[in-house]
Symmetry: T
Subunit: 148 residues, 12 copies
Amino acid sequence: MAVIAVVNGPNLNMLGGREPEVYGTETWQEIRGRLEKIALDMGLELDFFQSNHEGALVDHVQEVATIASGMIINPGALTHYGYSLRDAVAALSLPVIEVHITNIFAREEWRSRSVVSPVVRGVISGLGAAGYELALLALAAIVGGEDR
Amino acid sequence: MAVIAVVNGPNLNMLGGREPEVYGTETWQEIRGRLEKIALDMGLELDFFQSNHEGALVDHVQEVATIASGMIINPGALTHYGYSLRDAVAALSLPVIEVHITNIFAREEWRSRSVVSPVVRGVISGLGAAGYELALLALAAIVGGEDR
Amino acid sequence: MAVIAVVNGPNLNMLGGREPEVYGTETWQEIRGRLEKIALDMGLELDFFQSNHEGALVDHVQEVATIASGMIINPGALTHYGYSLRDAVAALSLPVIEVHITNIFAREEWRSRSVVSPVVRGVISGLGAAGYELALLALAAIVGGEDR
Amino acid sequence: MAVIAVVNGPNLNMLGGREPEVYGTETWQEIRGRLEKIALDMGLELDFFQSNHEGALVDHVQEVATIASGMIINPGALTHYGYSLRDAVAALSLPVIEVHITNIFAREEWRSRSVVSPVVRGVISGLGAAGYELALLALAAIVGGEDR
Amino acid sequence: MAVIAVVNGPNLNMLGGREPEVYGTETWQEIRGRLEKIALDMGLELDFFQSNHEGALVDHVQEVATIASGMIINPGALTHYGYSLRDAVAALSLPVIEVHITNIFAREEWRSRSVVSPVVRGVISGLGAAGYELALLALAAIVGGEDR
Amino acid sequence: MAVIAVVNGPNLNMLGGREPEVYGTETWQEIRGRLEKIALDMGLELDFFQSNHEGALVDHVQEVATIASGMIINPGALTHYGYSLRDAVAALSLPVIEVHITNIFAREEWRSRSVVSPVVRGVISGLGAAGYELALLALAAIVGGEDR
Amino acid sequence: MAVIAVVNGPNLNMLGGREPEVYGTETWQEIRGRLEKIALDMGLELDFFQSNHEGALVDHVQEVATIASGMIINPGALTHYGYSLRDAVAALSLPVIEVHITNIFAREEWRSRSVVSPVVRGVISGLGAAGYELALLALAAIVGGEDR
Amino acid sequence: MAVIAVVNGPNLNMLGGREPEVYGTETWQEIRGRLEKIALDMGLELDFFQSNHEGALVDHVQEVATIASGMIINPGALTHYGYSLRDAVAALSLPVIEVHITNIFAREEWRSRSVVSPVVRGVISGLGAAGYELALLALAAIVGGEDR
Amino acid sequence: MAVIAVVNGPNLNMLGGREPEVYGTETWQEIRGRLEKIALDMGLELDFFQSNHEGALVDHVQEVATIASGMIINPGALTHYGYSLRDAVAALSLPVIEVHITNIFAREEWRSRSVVSPVVRGVISGLGAAGYELALLALAAIVGGEDR
Amino acid sequence: MAVIAVVNGPNLNMLGGREPEVYGTETWQEIRGRLEKIALDMGLELDFFQSNHEGALVDHVQEVATIASGMIINPGALTHYGYSLRDAVAALSLPVIEVHITNIFAREEWRSRSVVSPVVRGVISGLGAAGYELALLALAAIVGGEDR
Amino acid sequence: MAVIAVVNGPNLNMLGGREPEVYGTETWQEIRGRLEKIALDMGLELDFFQSNHEGALVDHVQEVATIASGMIINPGALTHYGYSLRDAVAALSLPVIEVHITNIFAREEWRSRSVVSPVVRGVISGLGAAGYELALLALAAIVGGEDR
Amino acid sequence: MAVIAVVNGPNLNMLGGREPEVYGTETWQEIRGRLEKIALDMGLELDFFQSNHEGALVDHVQEVATIASGMIINPGALTHYGYSLRDAVAALSLPVIEVHITNIFAREEWRSRSVVSPVVRGVISGLGAAGYELALLALAAIVGGEDR
């Protein structure tokens, strides 16, 4: 069964509690539940990982590359300066989709530039937690070799 | 029946033929066919419009606002300088999702900045024609008031 | 009877309805009514034109130049990137006054720079619809050769 | 009787003599005479002040705030770096209109940026001494609560 | 008989009358006459198009691509911001030569940067109307497969 | 008893030995001793944490938020690029004071910009180890609801 | 008895009345009262000066240098462009602490850069009027030669 | 018989051998042969000069000015930083045409800016060796006083 | 007898005492003595003025213009931001020479740009107090109409 | 026996497998083997460390400083933003040589700037794994006090 | 007898003929004559050198350093990019004065920045050929050890 | 016997005497002696060239390319603006290593950017004269086809 890695960066463990007017009130557990249900329907296995440590994210991206067929990554604030994470992602041969819960282009100027985007397949930003679900659908299609 | 406007900017009428190594070989007619099938399944009506004229796009955005419940917009190259189109979009009270077929963050520097993004709900970039389908799913959920 | 051209750019046809907290609740029809009354009092004829198409604005500026003695122009968002319109205005030998309803210097950074301003006689910004009236008074004085 | 403060910054005491090809040949005394006549007609009192000292301008703006209902200010070269004057203006609750005799957008690059504009109601630039008269008309309408 | 498309952007319909000290006194009709004579001599057909509308230029570039063997384009002020036109040109497989009547590198700073130049074969600037003739000669040689 | 968290970033464990001509000869143990004495006098408890890992700092900031009433943070070099730490701090509802031992505005250009400052209550820079003591006094007043 | 100079720049005479939502409701008289009480306790004399004139501030800084042992300075808006004041401060051999009532790093971009900071001992920003008190404590320690 | 100077800058002596995928396989001798044939037909004499030394180019430009009626110059890499050569060219009263074999606007960013262009009559770029021939035709017309 | 105005800006009253390692140990009185001796020899009268107030400098420049035949100005730190002073100088029809005691191009980056230089006849920088003497010699020659 | 620390940053554990067309096919184990053989010959001991965590690298640099006589560091992507690592290196009194396997000046713009370089003795870039060997030779000479 | 080197860069051999409206009508021979007369009076010997070759200027500066006691240098356009010449000057232990005939701060933007100025004693700009004479006087005083 | 070209740019002929605190006290003759000894051991011939003329360096690089198997180049100050030299190097098919005696990344900002680096194999900076020796070793290995 194909595995899709879901990788979350710094502060995303706080979803639901952290600045809910910005990031929403749903917790990661709730989002994860919905993602697992969708994956089940599509015959995919999900591998979840979150860390506030860029190093741990790099370690994980390197390791998960050997078992995963695709990756959804929300690098949190590392989006804007995590060149080590970027290089780890750039070394992958998997399709990777970058997800942001908020519309990073409508916030502070420095959030509108991602150092990761140039090395991923695609970007989904601003659609809330639903962004993860859409990314999962997209990856399923790419991984499944569906003719689009 | 709720209407979703699908608005395409300059040169998107050439899809399939134009630089296929960049934009893919699928024509807009084929993409439109799939979108209409999905919409039908979800009980949505689609309103398609394409123009190479920024003025015509502004005219259309103003008019379609009175009948549509949501909008998918791919402004083409106007993404990067079409402030008139941006202002027309900013005046909407509909949810709008910006779609790009290619990953605009992995191309020329000037393509990585969108003047439209700060006034839309979300952005989907780099997932090919599937980006339109994902945007449609997302809008359906938003418009349908589904609890996410 | 001397003619003053009044030229409005993209989205100004939506005045009154578009983001009223920014642009006010008065419609263009109401503003136009007041302008016509003032013109009548001063023995001036007004020629109104609005378009969302930069090309149509350029066409019009070229044509109206043969009959008008002065011009009031609000280029809308083209203010910030409409170099074609700028060149059309620069080619005029009429006095031209640029008007903005809002104070463009107190909004987004990109709105504070006008590509048209360097080729007009004067600029009035932030005084609401009254800016058109003041521009009309100023043009009347210039055109009438009044000694100021 | 409502008072309108008219505040002129550095070098504006030299009008008429200073670089007349740029600033015109009319002296401030002549301009002031016309303004007083207009004010008289409208039942307004004018309070004039000019200084080459930013500090004196800040002192005056602070003091006149207690008696004036509106302000016309031409900060001269302080327009471009007088942040203290800007802060004094920003603290006012009066409507303020910034006036420039020349079109500051058609001269040296550094003149095209005003640090005062973001904190005033409106800006009139390039219409010569008539700019003061138009500003007076606009303030009269605002102060008089006229419905525009 | 091979066709060469000659495409002129905004305000070039005004040649001869518009700012003659900048653009010369020759009208487009006169220039066109000379070009047609040269083409005749070389056994080439010319297809002329001018518009002040970027959208119309994009439409035309897309259409003429099916019949032309080469293109001469003077994008007027769109040279500096017409990314939609640029993308239309980039999609061509024809040799394209960009022509400017004036030396755009000796005027305002913003005119010295062309967004179209990176996607054309060559650029001729500052040689007046003769630039079109030289471009025609160059295209004839390229299209004719002359050994240079 | 109210708890004040004291958080030190990379290399601050080396105080006293590291570049003493820049950072002074006092060790962190000595500074800590003085802070504890002051806290004791004010009836406050201090919670100390230092790490060279941004991730560990983010972890700690998230955790300590549940027990602390205020925070003193010296992010070390992360001051200038630690956006993850910034987001962790931004999510706090505690008053936070940023402290720098040296005057960061009088050193290399890149040190004069802090990505953390926009999300803290206040900043104390250049007053040596005494900066921590002043921050403690300030927090005590804020937390104690003293009327200032 | 050692003298500490307290120097306030433009608009700080308006404290309490000026934009109280930004600068607080406490007047300078009240702040001054508290500072004098603290000084008394520490056996220090305070010398107060405020001016809206940069020149007067430079005059004062030059003069007070002969009697003071330390200085607290809040340059107001001159913080961002008052190079003359900066040079006057740079010429001092006294310890100087720059104070800002608001967090200048969390406001407009231009407020986040101080031309004075590179020549002072330390900076305290964002702690309200308490910043003056903390600066006084810090100066007392420095002037008193306390071993920190 | 009128003389046209043809001046080539650094590395152009290597044409044909140097990076032929960029600069073509034709040698300068071959190009020169064709130019001489064209000149002969037009009754013009050509004066050729190439040097890798900016100083030698300046020396030559100064000297040739006394005998030539026009100049074709390809400054090679000096195009982008050779201000001395620029000043030598600026001092000429001859018509000068700048030629580049490659399209300098489609290569590295630094090649897209020429310090020489602002002081020449016109620029031809990207048309290969044919650019020299076109420049010769253009100069012949200008020098011959042909009515264009 | 022709009058030469000598105008010194902020902090130049402190010469000799202020940062002597930068500005030298000579006092302004000593420099003035030498200048007066030279002037006497050349039959010139000197008019000295120094102020720390930009406004006072502007006042003085305006007034002295009616009696002086030339001006030496050292604007101190106003060199870098004193646009009001610049405008006062620009309005003069006298020859003006800007003098700096230190080499402003070998110090902080911000000191290397003068806003006054574009409107003066010449600049002398870095030659110490002798710069004033050289300026006096140069002005004497210009004013005396000596043939150079 | 003198110890040389060899420190590798993020993703360098993947050498040989990661983007081999960029970083080569040799694994770190193979490189390490060669380095140890060279060290043995020179009577040096090597201390190897690699981590994807900036914090762990800082920890290690602090610790190894007490036993090493020199350091070779390849900070990986931290080269470009790892200011904490930079500060840790800056605090060392050992000679440090920065090594990059690829030529960082011939890749993406952001890779051409190293925040570490200003605080190291020297930099070797682009010579592949041999760069480590050259650095070892250089350090041996420096540490050995060899007279160069 | 002390020797003063006078070094002129590119195009200064053309003085008198080159753009006389910019550089004056006096030839270098005439200027040189006056300089030699002044030198004779002061017991100084002058060593003149001019070249259009930066390399020749560097050669000369290196050589003349062994015999000269001071240097006057006008680097011509090399002022703005001649870093090799700058380094040659920086290596001198002689006092060097940079002279420009025109006011380089009142011309094109790129002329206002000198790469040589940071390594010379002083700069004289805009005083015409008299600048050389003033530099000679200044050097005589410095070399003669006159007490200034 | 394979030849390695060693090319030194401006001012490197002054090594040992020029600013010894920056460049060391060793003369080029001494460095050259050591290099020749090393080359002899490795069976390589060295070809030395130094010039202060960029043109001469370009001439030499073009010529030596026909006999050399590798090149060591220290472009001196041309490193930062010598685009002609860069283009000459870029045209080589030899391996080239750029050497700098000092750490150019730890000096003035403008020295930290090399226009040559993007077209060489590798860069060695800051290791003193030993940098030439290391480059020689590296080239020997590359040229000798040693398996690294």
